[in-house]
Amino acid sequence: MHRVTRYLLLALSVLMLSAPARAADAGKDGQQVDIKTMLFGHIGDSYEWHITKIGDKDIVIPLPVIVHSSTGWHCFMSSKLEDGPYEGLYCAEGGKYDGKIVEKDADGNEVRPFDISITKNVAGLMINSAIVLLLVLGCARWYRKHDVLNEAPTGIAAVIEPVVNFVYDDIIKGSIPEEHCRKYAPYLLAAFFFILVNNLMGIIPVFPGGANTTGNIAVTLVLALCTFVAVNLFANRHYWKDIFWPDVPWWLKVPVPLIPVIELFGIFTKPFALMIRLFANIMAGHAIILSFVSIVFLTVKMGPAINGTMSFVAVFFGIFMDFLELLVAFIQAYVFTMLSAVFIGLAHEGEGGKASES
C-alpha cells in the first residue's frame, strides 16, 4: 500500500513539473488562453465528444445530429459540420445560438431548427443509464438466480444491495407512510442511482465519463418534473385541502386567498428548488475543478517559478476538489432522493389517521 502511494506521488510530481512545459506549449502561439470558452466548453453541451488534442489534431467522437429544419428531417454525423454548412445547417458562432446548429431563414436571420441531436450530454446520459441498468439489473439477476435464504449476496449484488437497502430503509421508509413505500420505491431508487451514477461519471474526465449531465439544467428539470408528478398525481385529499383551505385564520384565505396562493406556489417551488440545487452543485463543482486546472495555463506568462508553484497548488487543490466532488456526488443524490421522498410523504400525510378511523 505504501509503495503504491509512493509511486503515485512520484508520478504526480513528475506530471506537476511537466505541466508548465505543456502549458507553455499550448500558449506559445501568443494567443491568450480563453478560460471562459474552455470552461463553458467543458461544462456545456456539444455536438461531438471532444476527447483531447494531440498536436494540432483534435481527437473527437462524432455523434449523430438529428434536426428537423424548414427543409425536413436531417440526420448525419457531427463530423460533417466541420467543413462549413451541411445541408444548409451549420454551427452558429457567437450570437444568440452560439455553438448550436442553426439555419438561415428567408431574411438571412439565424433560426434554430427543431433539434433532437444525440449530443455529448445525451450520449453521456445513455452511457450512464446503461451503467445504471447494468448494475441494478445485474443485482436483480443475481437474486433471481440464487436462493436468497441460503446465500449471502456476492459480486454485483453485494455492491448494489447495501445501497438499495440504505436508500429504501433510511430514506424511503423514513419519509413515506408504510403502505405507499412499495409504490414509490422504484422511482426514488431509480432517481438515486441515476443521479449518483451521472454525478460520478461526470467527475471522470475522459471518454465514457466527462459529460456534465447532472450539471445541466435540462436533466435536473426532468428529474424534478418526475418528482413533481410523483408528488401531485397521487396526493390525497388532505394535501389538497392544506393547499386550498389551510388551517389558518379565515381572513388569510377568504376575501383574498393569500395563503392558498402561497401554498400553490409552494407546489412548484419545491421541485424547482430540487432542480436548481442539483444543477448548481454539480455545475459549480465542475467549474471549480476546471478553474483550478486553468490556473496552470493562466500562470504560464508569469515565469517558470510562479508557474511551477501555482501549478503545484492548483493540482493539489484540484485533487482535493475531486475528493470533495466524490462526496458531493453522493450527497446530492441523497438529498434529491430524500427531499423527493419527504415531499411525497407530505402528500400522503394524515392518511394513517384516516385509515385507523375507518
Binding site: N121, V122, A140, V148, L149, Y168, A190, N216
Partner: protein, 167 residues
C-alpha cells in the same frame, strides 16, 4: 435555458430507465431483501422460542432429577427403616424364643426336680420304713407294746405319705 433536444432525450432516457428498473430491477431486489429480512426475523424468533423451550426443558429435567433424587432418598430411607424393623423384629423374636426356651427349660427342670424329689422322698420313706421295720422287728418280740407301736407308726407313715406307702 434548458435545451429542447436534451430535455426530450433526457425525458425519453429517464422514463425508459425508470420503467425498466421499476419492472425488472428494484422490486426484485427489495422483495428479495424483504424476504430475507423476514426470514432472518423468523429465524431469530424461532431461535428465541427454541431457547425458551430448551430452558423449560432443562428446568423440567432438573425438576425430574430432583424428584428422582428425592424418590431415591425416600426409598433408601424406607429400606433402612425396613432393615431396622426386620432386625428389631428378629431380635425380638430371638429374645422371645430364648425366653420361651429358658422358661420351658425351667419348667422342665422344675418338673425333673419335683419328680426327683418325690423319688428321693419315697426312697427315703422306704429306707426309713425298712430301717424302722428292722428296728421294730428286733424289739417286737420282747414287748407287747411293740404291736401297738407298729400300728401307730404305720398309721403315722400312712398319714404322712399315703402314695409312697402304696408303692
Amino acid at each position: 435555458m434548458p435545451d429542447t433536444g436534451l430535455l426530450f432525450w433526457m425525458l425519453v432516457i429517464f422514463v425508459t430507465v425508470l420503467a425498466v428498473l421499476a419492472k425488472w430491477g428494484f422490486p426484485v431486489i427489495t422483495s428479495m431483501v424483504e424476504k430475507r429480512k423476514n426470514y432472518i426475523a423468523e429465524s431469530l424468533e424461532l431461535a428465541k422460542k427454541v431457547d425458551e423451550k430448551m430452558a423449560a426443558l432443562s428446568k423440567e429435567q432438573a425438576r425430574i432429577i430432583g424428584e428422582a433424587r428425592e424418590e431415591q432418598n425416600k426409598i433408601l430411607k424406607e429400606a433402612a427403616e425396613a432393615r431396622n424393623n426386620i432386625i428389631r423384629q428378629a431380635q425380638e423374636q430371638a429374645r422371645d424364643e430364648a425366653a420361651k426356651l429358658v422358661a420351658e427349660a425351667r419348667t422342665q427342670i422344675e418338673a425333673e426336680k419335683e419328680s426327683a424329689m418325690s423319688q428321693i422322698r419315697s426312697q427315703v420313706a422306704m429306707l426309713s420304713v425298712n430301717v424302722a421295720e428292722k428296728i421294730i422287728r428286733k424289739t417286737l418280740s420282747e414287748d407287747k407294746e411293740r404291736k401297738e407301736l407298729v400300728e401307730k407308726m404305720v398309721e403315722e407313715s400312712l398319714k404322712l405319705d399315703p402314695p409312697a406307702v402304696k408303692n
